[in-house]
Symmetry: C2
Subunit: 575 residues, 2 copies
Amino acid sequence: MELEKYRIHSKMARGLEKAQIVFKNARVFLSHTGEFVSGDVAVADGVILGIGTYEGEKEIPLDGKLLVPGFIDSHLHLESTLVTPGELVRQAAQCGTTTFIVDPHESANVSGTDGIDYILEQTESVPANVYVMMPSCVPATHVDDNGCTLTAGKMKAYLENPRILGLGEVMDAISVIEGSVSMYEKLNLFQNRVRDGHAPFLSQGDLAAYALAGISTDHECVTYEYAMEECRNGMQVLIREGSAARNLDAIVKGIVENHTDTESFCFCTDDKHIEEIRRDGHINYNVKRAVQLGLPLERALKMATIQAARCYGLKHVGAIAPGYQADFVVLDDEKNLNVEDVYYKGERIIPDEKAEIKPCPPMLKNTVHISKLKEKCLKLAHPGGKAHVILMEEGQITTQDSYGEVPWKEENGECIFVSDSRYQKIAVVERHKNTGKIGVGILKGFGLTGGAIASSVSHDSHNIIVVGDNDRDMILAVKELVRTQGGYTLVENGSVYKTLPLQVMGLMSDEGYEKVNETLADMIPKAHKMGIPAGFDPFITLSFMALPVIPEIRVTPRGIYLVKEDRMLRDPFER
Amino acid sequence: MELEKYRIHSKMARGLEKAQIVFKNARVFLSHTGEFVSGDVAVADGVILGIGTYEGEKEIPLDGKLLVPGFIDSHLHLESTLVTPGELVRQAAQCGTTTFIVDPHESANVSGTDGIDYILEQTESVPANVYVMMPSCVPATHVDDNGCTLTAGKMKAYLENPRILGLGEVMDAISVIEGSVSMYEKLNLFQNRVRDGHAPFLSQGDLAAYALAGISTDHECVTYEYAMEECRNGMQVLIREGSAARNLDAIVKGIVENHTDTESFCFCTDDKHIEEIRRDGHINYNVKRAVQLGLPLERALKMATIQAARCYGLKHVGAIAPGYQADFVVLDDEKNLNVEDVYYKGERIIPDEKAEIKPCPPMLKNTVHISKLKEKCLKLAHPGGKAHVILMEEGQITTQDSYGEVPWKEENGECIFVSDSRYQKIAVVERHKNTGKIGVGILKGFGLTGGAIASSVSHDSHNIIVVGDNDRDMILAVKELVRTQGGYTLVENGSVYKTLPLQVMGLMSDEGYEKVNETLADMIPKAHKMGIPAGFDPFITLSFMALPVIPEIRVTPRGIYLVKEDRMLRDPFER
C-alpha cells in the first residue's frame, strides 16, 4: 500500500476519521478465530480497515445479519458450462463466490497458450478474483490427438503473471511417480507454487510417491477414507460438489462421524453448469449442505474461505480482518444461510446484471479442421469372428468392454457391421490438424436411432465425437459441426434437426447463456425421444466416451483403446 | 529435488526398494490431520518418503513410542543467554527444537549488519534450521544511543538470503500507525514476507491500524483476552514461555476454558537461559505445560510444529509427511511426554555433545569505546529542591518515578548528592562511539552497598550501565569492562571482585556455557550479599534500567528519561 493511503486508512481504522464505508451492526465471521462477533466493519478503497465500532461516510445497515468472507472455489473449469468465462463468474459471484481458482485445460487442449490467454483476458475485469493454474497434462495421455502440446518451455513465460498460481491438476500419476522427464520439468518449474493433483485411486506407497513429487491438493476424492489418506500424506482435499461429480455427502458425513480435524479440507465445484448454479447455488451450496450434514457452520465457513486461501497462498482474501480485500457475503441467518448480498472490493454485485460478453479473437473461432471426410471412412468391415463393444451404463461414464457377436451384413463380398436399435456406431474424428485420423467403434446402450448426435466437446482432446445408426447422418452431423466451427448437433433422417454452435474453440458459445439454455431445452428432450435413455445427459455422457483415462474401453482418432491394458486396436474386430 | 534422486526416493516410497532409514513401529503424529497413526516412517537423504509399512537398510525400532515433528521456536533472541549462538541452539535442539526463528536485534544494536552476519554465520552448520528476522527497530527509539542505525537501505542486501524470513519484532507501534517514512520503508521492503509484531497494549483501533500495516504476529501477549484481540485482527499469537516473561499459563487457560480455535497460536521462548533450558526444556516444556493445563496433546503439537511453519511460510518442516525434512522428536508416551531422542535431517542429535565454538571476527570483540571517563563525570550537583528517583520493585522491570528529597552534602560550596544504604547512583555510559555521553540518576530499592555492579548488556542499546554507592568503585567497574571489552563485573571496596568477560559485542562469551555458569554461580550470590534483594536477578534486572520503552523512568546516556511523557531531563534535579 502507498504510504499516503495508509496514513488515511490508519486514521479511519483508529476511528479518528470516518471510514469510507461501514457495514453496520453485523454478526461478523472471523476466519482466524472461527467465531462470530457483533460489530461494524470499516472499509476504504476496497480494503477492510477494522472490526469494531465505526462511523462511515456511507453506512450499510445489516441489522444483525451474518457478514462472512467471499467464498473461494478452489478448483473449477470455466469452459464446462458452454458459456463465456465472464458469464459463469458473474453467476457464481452472485451466489457469494468471489475467488475462483480455474484450470483452463479444455481451452489449452484446443488452442494451447492462446486458449489460456483467452481465459486470462476474459476474466480480467470481472467482479471477482480469478486465478489460473497452468494445465499440466496437455495432451492428457500419450494416446491423445489434441490441438497442442504444452511443455514446460511454453509455460515459462507465465511464471511472472501474478494470476498464475501454480500447476493444474496432474492427472498423469504414472508419469509423476515413475519420474518422467517432461513431467518432472513441469513440476520443477512450479517448485515453489501449488501443484494440484488428480489421483483418485492410488495405493499407499504410490500416493506417498505422488505427494513426494510436490503435489499438494486433490479434488477427485470420492470416499472419506481415501480423502483421509491424502490428508495424511500432507495433501489438501478439495471437496467437490459439481454437476456430474458429487462427493460432498460422502466426505462430510465421514468428517462429522469421526470428528475429523477439518483444516486439510476446502470446497470446489470442478464442473458446475450455469443452470444448476442458478438453481442450487455455487460454493454457498457446499457450505449449506455440509451444515445440513452436521458440520458446524464455523468449520464449513473456514473451509470455504481462509483454508482455500491458505492452500493457494492468497494472503488478501478469505478473512474479514484489517488489510484483507473487502469481499463479503451477507447471509440472512445461521439456519437458512441464504445469500442476500455479495460485495466485491466493497462494492455490491448487482443481482442478475448481465455480464458483458467480451469479443473472442477470430483464430479461436476457427478450430475445426476436417476436409477429407467421406462415408467410407466409417465402414467397419468384418473379418469374421467377434468384436469389442463399448457397453454403456446409465448414470455412469465408465464403460465395459464387451467382446462378442455384433450384427452384420454381406456387401460386395465383405462382411459389414450394421447398426440396429441396440448397436450403433461411434466415431471420433481428429479436428485440430486435419490429419484425417478417424477411429470407429461399436456402442451398445446409448440407444440412438433414426439419426446421429455429435459434439466438438469431447474430453480432453475435444475432437469431434459422433454416434449414429447410419453413416450418412453421422457424416452430416460432423460436417454440420465443421460448418458451425464447433457445437452440439442432432441429425434426424438426413437433415439437421438443430445445432448449438460453440464457436469459441468448439467449447463455448458467445451468444449468452439464455440462448444456450433455450437451445438445449429443445435439443436434449429431442435426443431422448430419439432413443437415448433418461439416465444419460446426451451430450455430457457423449463427451466422455473419448477420454482415455476412464475404464474400460474408449474410442479415439487412432482406434479403440482398452484403458486397463493401455492397448490401441485399429478397429473393434482386432482381438 | 533432482530427478535422479526423486526416482530413487519414489521407489523407496512405493516399497519397491528398501528405504535408507526406517523408523519402525512408531505412533506417528500427523500434523495435517492432527492424529496419531501407528506405522513406520521411511526416510532417505534427510527427507521423509512415506508413512506406512516399510523396510529399511537401517531400521530404528521405536516400539510404539511417539514420533512427532521437530518443534519450532517461533521467536527468540540467541544473544540473551550470554553464550555463543551455536551452544544455545545445540542445547535447545536436544530438547526437540529443530527450527528457530531468531531476531538478532541485540547484535544489530551493537554492530549493525556485522552483528547480523555473525548470527547467520554462527548458525550455518548447527544441527537445526535457523532462520533470521531482520531487526526492525535499531535503534529502538529516538532517544537511544546505540552502535548502528539499521535503515531499509542496509536491509536490502539481505532480501535474497533464503534464511532471512522477514522483518523482526516491530516495537515502535506509534511509528507504524502514524505512518513514519522510515518505518514504512522497512515494512514495505518485506511486503511479501512475515513482519513480526511487538505491541502488547494497543486499543482496538490502534491494533487494527497496526495489523493493517501488514504486521502479522505478536509474542508479547500477556492475557488471553488481548491475545484473542490480536487473533481477531488476523495476527498469529506466539505464546511465550521464557526465563523472564511467562505468558503460557494465562493464555492457554483461556483457550481451554473457552474452547478456543487454536489455529492462530504458536509457541516461542523469546529469551530463555541455557541453565533453564537444561533444567526445564525448551518448546517441549511449552507443549508439556499446555497439556497439563488441559489442552489436547494434538492441539499443542500442532501449535509447536505445523502452525509455526505455516506462519513463517516454511513448507518443508513442521509435519511428518512425504517431502518434509526428517526432523523428529521421540517422546516416551502421551502422559509423560519426555524427549527420548531428537533427529535432524534423519540423523540423531547426540545428547550433550559439545557444540563447536566458531571463532568470532576480531572487530566484534572490540566494541567498548570509552576514553574520557573521570570521577567528576558522575557528580550530581544539587541546585536545591527535590529530585526524580528511579524506584525499583522486586520481581518487576517497570519502575516508578518518585519525586522527592534525596540525601546530600555540601562540598566546595555546592550541594552534592551522596549515596547511602537506600539511595545509590546509576549511570549509563555511551560505549559505541566514544561520544563521552553519560547520564547519571538516582536509584532506590536496588540496595547495593560497598561497591559497584556494571554490565555491557543493557537493552536495547547495550551501553555500559553501572550502579554503585561510591563514584570511585563505579568508575573502576566501567574501566574494568573497557579492559575486558564487555561483560558483567562486581567491584567491592576499591577492587574488582570478579568479572565475566562477554567479549562478543559485549553481549556473549565464547568461552563456553560451563565457564559462564560457573562464574555466574559465584557472582550472583555475591551481588545479593552486597545488598541486592533476592527479588532481583542482579544483572538481568540491571540490563532493563536503560530501556526507554518501559514505564515510568529510565536512565540513558543523554540523561533521565520519563517514559510516559517522552521527556529527557539533563539530570534528576530538573523539574
